[in-house]
């Protein structure tokens, strides 16, 4: 599988969940999807393009909203994909992708610990995954505001 028409294929594959998709440079695409469908997006990507390597999952706090990003590598077409989803900072919830890619487990736990984003379906989320055990349970250090 090559990179030719990858953007087109991507848009076809994710058309129900897609908000925006663009090519940043060779072998790097940035895609924004609906937050509630992240698990379905990853599943659809896996079915269309083969194995997915989750490099990292993290978030950026833009005060009005939290932007969760998934840095993925698609083994089939050999392209990198940044999957983005906006969530409400007061009720930050997303479906977990651990069921589709087991390797995402530690990444989701880390995001929960540092940002307080809940990945529904991941039963291993707990505070103090990476922070010290005495760290305040209601404080998420990488958020811009408390």
């Amino acid at each position: 599988m090559s990179e030719d028409n990858f953007l087109e294929k991507l848009q076809n594959c994710l058309k129900d969940y897609l908000v925006d998709a663009k090519k940043k440079r060779d072998r790097l695409y940035i895609v924004e999807v609906k937050a509630e469908a992240v698990d379905k997006v990853v599943k659809a990507l896996k079915e269309s393009f083969g194995d997915i390597h989750v490099t990292t999952i993290s978030a950026v706090d833009y005060i009005e909203y939290l932007e969760v990003f998934y840095d993925l590598w698609l083994h089939g077409p050999k392209v990198a994909l940044v999957l983005k989803a906006k969530v409400n900072p007061d009720r930050p919830e997303l479906p977990s992708i651990v069921g589709v890619i087991p390797g995402a487990l530690f990444n989701e736990c880390e995001v929960y610990d540092l940002f307080g984003i809940i990945f529904k379906g991941n039963n291993h989320l707990k505070k103090s995954f990476i922070l010290p055990e005495h760290f305040p349970k209601d404080y998420f250090p990488l958020r811009k505001k408390r």
Binding site: F69, D71, W73, P132, P141
Partner: protein, 387 residues
């Protein structure tokens, strides 16, 4: 009466270079379950980076890891260049490759030595570290520093290489290549080394992909993923080299990937030195950069490393995300301990290039009833060691 005992490995041990804690559930000598706790050296670098400017952050990211410091600075400056759309001069790209590969050779020889030492083979440890020392000398010759080389900067590199240094480097590389070939033969054939490493911690290709293993850990399991080849950065798209893979999927394969990569790195450096283009080594970059985001992934000695930078048109990044290779590999390797004995733990753990520690405290679980008892050392002595 059958007991499963909780055996804690870590987080503190004199041989550690990164603290982690593994809680093994052992039945006799055999490991039946494993639980990992990480984060003992969480220093809040991502948060700290938000309060420092782009130049200061080069030196901050360099200190994330002393061993693969070049990989971290390279990844960070590439991410910032990607964000700001800065074109790096050709010569700087080649110089980056040279120092990056020197860093890889030193890291691989280091862990091969540590592996030998953990298996009680101190002679091989000394020989490997002797050869590594020659590489450290070249790094000092090129960058002025032995460990934190401070070589990369935004827009290029900070130092150039002249012809005298080039010749010195080639001479040392010849010697290191000869020695590494010798080590390869030794590690391939030594019966005791094979006994300890072959069929230890088998990570099947499918599992390595599913659990997102990276670097030599993945390539030792025959996964075709090397960032240098598949998502080329710096000058890797112009340099021919082989992606090393082994089909054995065990600890031995992961160590042999490192031996072969050391030889491959020597060839990459030779090619880069021979084809080193002329011209500038850096471009000037303003302190305030435009809003946007930049992403860079590099193949650090331990595997794929990523830096993701976000900026809002400031002198500082709005957010910097770093994912180091060991974070990915710990999850991949943890289940492979099951079924092996306690004595095999170092042999498996060292093969992903992390750290380990020794027993801390004991918890007993009665396997039949599931009842947990915590016993002090005094109680254990009275119960089991009294004559």
């Amino acid at each position: 009466m059958s007991y499963a005992v909780d055996l804690l490995f870590g987080p503190q041990h004199p041989a550690l270079h990164e603290p982690e804690r593994f809680r093994f559930k052992v039945d006799g000598e055999i490991i039946v379950d494993v639980d990992v706790k990480i984060g003992f050296i969480h220093r809040g670098i991502e948060k700290l980076a938000e309060s420092k400017n782009f130049i200061q952050n080069i030196y901050l990211t360099e200190r994330i890891c002393g061993i693969c410091n070049v990989a971290h600075t390279l990844c960070y400056v590439q991410a910032v260049e990607d964000m700001a759309g800065i074109e790096v001069p050709e010569r700087a790209k080649y110089l980056r490759v040279i120092v990056h590969e020197l860093n890889r050779i030193h890291s691989h020889l280091l862990i091969l030595g540590v592996a030998a030492e953990l298996l009680g083979w101190e002679t091989e440890f000394m020989y490997l570290w002797r050869d590594r020392e020659a590489i450290m000398d070249i790094i000092e010759d090129v960058s002025g520093n032995r460990v934190t080389s401070a070589f990369n900067t935004i827009g290029g590199v900070r130092r150039d290489i002249n012809n005298t240094q080039k010749e010195r480097m080639l001479k040392v590389l010849d010697k290191v290549e000869k020695d590494t070939r010798f080590h390869k033969k030794v590690l391939e054939e030594d019966p005791l080394y094979r006994e300890r490493m072959v069929n230890m911690g088998v990570l099947k290709t499918r599992d390595a992909i599913e659990r997102c293993a990276v670097g030599p850990t993945a390539r030792g399991s025959n996964v075709d993923y090397d960032v240098r080849a598949h998502d080329p950065y710096a000058a890797y798209d112009e340099i021919p080299f082989n992606v090393i893979r082994y089909k054995e999927c065990d600890s031995w394969a992961r160590m042999m990937v490192r031996v072969d990569e050391t030889l491959e790195s020597i060839n990459i450096i030779r090619y880069a030195l021979k084809h080193l283009p002329g011209g500038e080594i850096r471009v000037k970059v303003p302190p305030r950069l435009p809003a946007g985001e930049g992403l860079s992934r590099v193949e650090a000695p331990r595997g794929e490393l990523i830096h993701h930078v976000f900026c809002q048109g400031d002198v500082k990044p709005y957010r910097l995300k770093v994912r180091t290779p060991t974070f990915a590999n710990i999850l991949a390797i943890a289940p492979t301990f099951i079924g092996h004995t306690i004595a095999d733990v170092p042999a498996i753990l060292v093969s992903i290039d992390p750290c380990f520690a020794c027993t801390d405290r004991l918890t007993f679980v009665d396997v039949s009833s599931g009842k947990v008892m915590k016993l002090s050392l005094g109680e254990i002595k009275r119960m089991y060691w009294s004559r």
